[in-house]
Subunit: 281 residues, 2 copies
């Protein structure tokens, strides 16, 4: 697993780096961004994965969220993967904003033509952590995960199904109950086929009935979010399922905030401190 | 002067807005971004203008710098103009990254074809403040200005030549002594003609010998900045001129930081607090 460093910038006394590597899970080159806090120069530090939303690359969060300020203060490494393989040669991969490039949905595809490259669940939960521990001073025993929108869905799915890997979990405006929504049904039928029982492995509201996460899940949602208004996110459905199954969740509804990064930047400090409370003990 | 609101997002309990209006100075539509802190809902607040660098629009700083966090805390309105008129019809306006679109250099052009639209000095120092006071709760008696690179040059020039308008002044990696550099000579000869004596009205190192700014000027510069390494910025030349003329300047050289927004985001808090110390008394 060789890593190619594309760029590096000093940031809050740490380093903001962009890498490309050949992914065996996705059988394609994959990009990710990594923030090394100043503490990583002398010790191993907790690792926090951020999964981005539709159309995003590894750049959006690293440029827009302002997370490095708090990662530097708290001594947390940030790992920000791209949202899909790109330029795989799959016909139609760039035709749609909610399928293919930029829209991997963090699932392991079982259907042609996607299955040859779209193995994002395995990439995020297995290959990428292994690569981080091999190349950087990240603590394998102190990992957390969070994300936004499609990436909030990914974080909830990865976190709930891997309670031994991830100690802390949060999301901004997650797609929290994809089955039955336009976005979820389109992606799952393309990647997973028409057998809807297979979809449940990637629906946070279904999963929280079967898995227990070890700590409170923090979720922030804006009321002026067009995806929320269109009933594509459905966090209340997830929160109800949490209550029924006894999962602790801190769901915060913020008046007037939309789906974009100005919302994320407003609440990023709270999320970093949520993860630090658990990871930096 | 009618304003068209292009978009609006809630951010740190305030509002991040993007506008277009017809500029009489530039005889063209102009774009700007504006951050209204929560305090502006009930009172008039100080106004801080940020001038961006080459190729930037009003979006770069508002998305990348993380300034809203501190503007909200301190109760400061941020005004972020575009760096030039655009789509004016001037032949060749988009041909170069250091002349024309995105490269107005904050001068009033006297030469054809630019003079018909490129009146950025008048736009920034007269028309835009007037528009702000007319439409928003900004205090005309509490204004500051700062900027980055070409916009750092613009801030120094606007600040030094208008000591009654701007009370506070700072810059990130400014083009601090443009005359005699490749960037400065190209822009000034195109916009101002070959009479080099006219250029001195827009060279901060020349101006600081003639004007005194009322407070300390804060300047941050990274040592790994390619523009600095290529001798295009020359802040030390400006600092020497400040010392000779008795101008107070706080010049900070930061090891390993480059010319990009990760540097700006690292030090933005210091700049906002510098301006707040003066503007929010």
């Amino acid at each position: 697993m060789t890593l190619s460093l594309r760029s590096q910038s000093r940031c809050f006394n740490g380093s903001m780096n962009y890498y490309t590597h050949d992914s065996s899970a996705c059988n394609a080159p994959m990009n990710f961004a990594l923030y090394l806090p100043p503490q990583a120069q002398t010790q191993s530090v907790p690792v926090l994965y951020y999964l981005s939303g539709l159309t995003c690359s590894e750049e959006n969060f690293s440029i827009k969220a302002g997370a490095q300020r708090f990662a530097a203060e708290l001594g947390i490494m940030l790992v920000i993967p791209d949202t899909s393989p790109r330029r795989t040669g799959i016909v139609g991969e760039d035709d749609s904003i909610d399928l293919g490039s930029g829209a991997g949905f963090y699932v392991d595809a079982t259907q042609d033509p996607w299955k040859a490259h779209y193995q994002m669940y395995t990439y995020i939960t297995r290959e990428l952590p292994q690569l981080i521990w091999t190349h950087f001073p990240g603590r394998a025993d102190k990992q957390g995960i969070f994300g936004h929108s499609m990436g909030g869905h990914g974080a909830l799915v990865c976190g709930l199904t891997n309670p031994d890997k991830y100690l802390s979990l949060s999301a901004f405006a997650p797609i929290a109950a994809p089955i039955g929504t336009e976005l979820g049904d389109k992606a799952f039928s393309a990647y997973l086929g028409e057998n809807r029982s297979a979809w449940k492995a990637y629906d946070a509201t279904e999963l929280v009935r079967r898995y227990q996460f070890r700590d409170t899940i923090l979720i922030d949602q804006g009321t002026a979010d067009e995806y929320y208004e269109k009933q594509l996110l459905l966090p209340e459905k997830f929160v109800s399922a949490c209550k029924e199954s006894g999962q602790s969740v801190n769901f915060r509804l913020h008046r007037g905030y939309d789906h974009g990064y100005f919302m994320i930047s407003t609440f990023i400090e709270d999320h970093l401190r949520h993860h630090a409370r658990i990871l930096c003990q």
